[in-house]
């Protein structure tokens, strides 16, 4: 039961909900999100991109691997809406298949950051003391390295490939989650319902996972949404310098990198994958901003 108690960590819906008609916190957040047109636009675009990733095999006009040597570097035309690359592969089909890679990398990287960063932040905030000091100083060290550089260092050491890219990008943004979760845990752990849980003999692990973290979700969700965008950008950047996901995988950054060498003769090869990245990141950012406003109306300007 106790996890349904709403502690107001830095302004949740509880503070503003009208006393007459009680909505659940989730419904209240959803209602505010729906009213935000930009956030809804973001949500619709993301849903479409996810749908494209799922149905990629059916909706792609061509096989993304098929090289048509009679149609090399074709400008956009009726057969190939976005043209073909230097090996005669259909760019639209490759972009559609690329949604799978980018979404996968985005979500897995952020899951790694949330799990590792959130875990460290929770331990740090809950126990405090020396352990907290050691963890946070280590986070300070990681923060001193610009995150793309850290990711570059990790993939250059362990090699490219999708798994290493996800780990590298995930690790490089661990510190921001650790900080956010730590701050939330500190603000929540002094509440009476935590004391109550402790009084009935709940273990530390149970208190943190069942009572504190559910109440600290708002900032984590916002950061994670924006984090997926950042992770997709970083992964594309790594692939772009040849350190990430390797061709012939239809990864957007790798496609851009390929298009770079033929930009003088075939502008479309580099242009469209970039637009796909931008649209995805734009939609995620809109949704993330909207979620932040919906979860914490006091921050809304």
């Amino acid at each position: 039961m106790s996890h349904t108690i709403i502690a107001p960590p830095a302004g949740t819906a509880a503070a503003t909900a009208s006393p007459v008609k009680k909505r659940s916190q989730l419904a209240e957040v959803w209602r505010r999100l729906v009213r935000n047109k930009m956030a809804m636009f973001g949500l619709v675009v993301i849903s479409l991109i996810i749908a494209a990733a799922i149905t990629a095999d059916w909706i792609s006009p061509y096989d993304y691997r098929t090289q048509d040597l009679n149609a090399i570097s074709q400008k956009p035309n009726a057969q190939h809406i976005l043209g073909t690359d230097d090996l005669g592969r259909d760019i639209l089909s490759r972009i559609i298949h690329g949604t799978r890679i980018s979404l996968l990398v985005g979500f897995v990287s952020v899951s790694i950051s949330v799990a590792v960063g959130g875990g460290l932040g929770a331990v740090s905030g809950y126990y405090g003391g020396t352990l907290d000091n050691v963890i946070m100083r280590f986070m300070d060290v990681l923060l001193a390295i610009p995150s793309i550089l850290l990711a570059i260092a990790i993939v250059s050491a362990f090699g490219g490939g999708i798994i290493n890219v996800m780990i590298a990008v995930g690790i490089s943004s661990v510190p921001s989650y650790a900080r956010i979760v730590k701050a939330s845990v500190i603000s929540i752990k002094e509440n009476e319902f935590i004391e109550a849980a402790r009084a009935i003999g709940a273990s530390d692990f149970r208190i943190v996972t069942k009572h504190i973290l559910p109440n600290a979700m708002a900032p984590i969700i916002v950061q994670a949404t924006l984090g997926v965008a950042g992770a997709i950008l970083s992964a594309a950047g790594l692939s772009f310098i040849g350190m990430g996901i390797q061709p012939p995988t239809p990864e957007w950054g790798a496609m851009l990198s390929n298009g770079r060498h033929i930009i003088r003769t075939a502008w479309h090869v580099a242009t469209f994958p970039g637009l796909a990245i931008m649209l995805t990141i734009f939609a995620l950012n809109l949704l993330g901003d909207g979620l932040r406003d919906a979860l914490d109306p006091r921050l809304k300007n």
């Binding site: 001193a144 550089l149 570059i152 250059s156 950047g237 040849g242 242009t271 970039g274 734009f282 901003d289």
Partner: protein
């Protein structure tokens, strides 16, 4: 105040030691034998073994790390496996180019971001506000390296007004600086707007208006000054992603800076150079953040008072 600055400068030491440790550890566990890379694949085993001993590669991890730090403090970051020249000298000769690019980018970011942010905040929900916010968000969403390529496509290939690569003149600087600068400008615009909106609701702004001060004075003297702290923080933090962004942007525009040097070093598996590059950029970033923290004290007398 001096005590505060001294304390912050001293704090740099453990952070940089930590950064060295992280970077050194990553590179230590990199597969591939540096001695072999240096001598080439066909070098006889005895020669490789000899070089390994000379380079101290057979020592245990902690000894190697200790030697690395000892040398780094004296300005010796090892030798490049490819050019065989000292890494520190290689980086040092490219550092001015990176600094020049970053400075130009920060300048663009500040000159665009702060004024647009202020106007957006003072005319909240106006057409100007809406449009500039959408553009700013697009700017945040655009991959740096793609933006650079699109600028080359537009200004070098289509209109032929700017050189697509190289170094030396103002013309060479414009596109790479704009590439990194505009995305930082987008972040600064958003921060300036929200920080200003936060401040203009305060009572002292109402008081200032009630006193009959002109709107210009209220915004520039009373509001902006108080809104500046989070803005300055963001500018400092942007400098980090700017240095990171420079790595990609420099290789697109063949800008002879530390970033391109690092990307080339990664391609040739020249680990000491990668290690040195990350270390130098992390140090630069830390110094900038330190400068930002010290700057706070000058912007905000309340912070200064704490350290009296």
């Amino acid at each position: 105040m001096h005590k505060y600055i001294l304390r912050r400068v001293l704090l740099l030491i453990p952070v940089m030691l930590g950064v060295s440790f992280v970077v050194f550890t990553i590179m230590f566990f990199t597969p591939g034998d540096p001695a072999k890379i240096m001598l080439g694949e066909r070098a006889p085993a005895e020669e490789v073994a000899l070089l390994r001993t000379q380079m101290g590669l057979d020592d245990p991890f902690h000894i190697q790390f200790f030697n690395f730090v000892k040398n780094a403090v004296q300005g010796d970051l090892g030798r490049s496996l490819v050019t065989k020249r000292p890494v520190a000298a290689e980086i040092w000769s490219r550092f001015p180019a990176t600094l020049q690019l970053s400075a130009a980018a920060v300048l663009i970011a500040i000159l665009m971001g702060i004024p647009i942010g202020i106007i957006s905040a003072t005319k909240q929900y106006s057409a100007f506000d809406m449009i500039s916010m959408v553009i700013a968000l697009l700017g945040v969403s655009m991959p740096n390296f793609w933006q650079g390529m699109m600028m080359i496509l537009l200004f070098s290939i289509t209109f032929r007004v700017l050189p697509s690569s190289g170094y030396g003149t103002l013309g060479h600087l414009i596109m790479p600086a704009a590439t990194i600068g505009t995305s930082a400008a987008a972040v600064i615009t958003r921060m300036t707007r929200s920080s200003m909106l936060e401040v203009v609701r305060q009572d002292y702004i109402r008081t200032a208006r009630a006193k009959g001060l002109s709107e210009r004075v209220v915004i520039n003297r009373h509001a902006l000054k108080n809104a500046l702290i989070p803005i300055v923080t963001v500018i400092g933090l942007q400098f980090g992603s700017l240095l990171g962004g420079a790595v990609l942007t420099e290789s697109i525009f063949s800008w002879p800076g530390v970033g391109r040097f690092m990307v080339d070093a990664i391609r040739t598996k020249d680990y000491p150079s990668v290690q040195g590059g990350v270390l130098m950029l992390a140090l630069t970033f830390s110094i900038v953040n330190l400068a930002v923290d010290i700057l706070y004290a000058y912007i905000d007398p309340r912070i200064k008072a704490q350290y009296k």
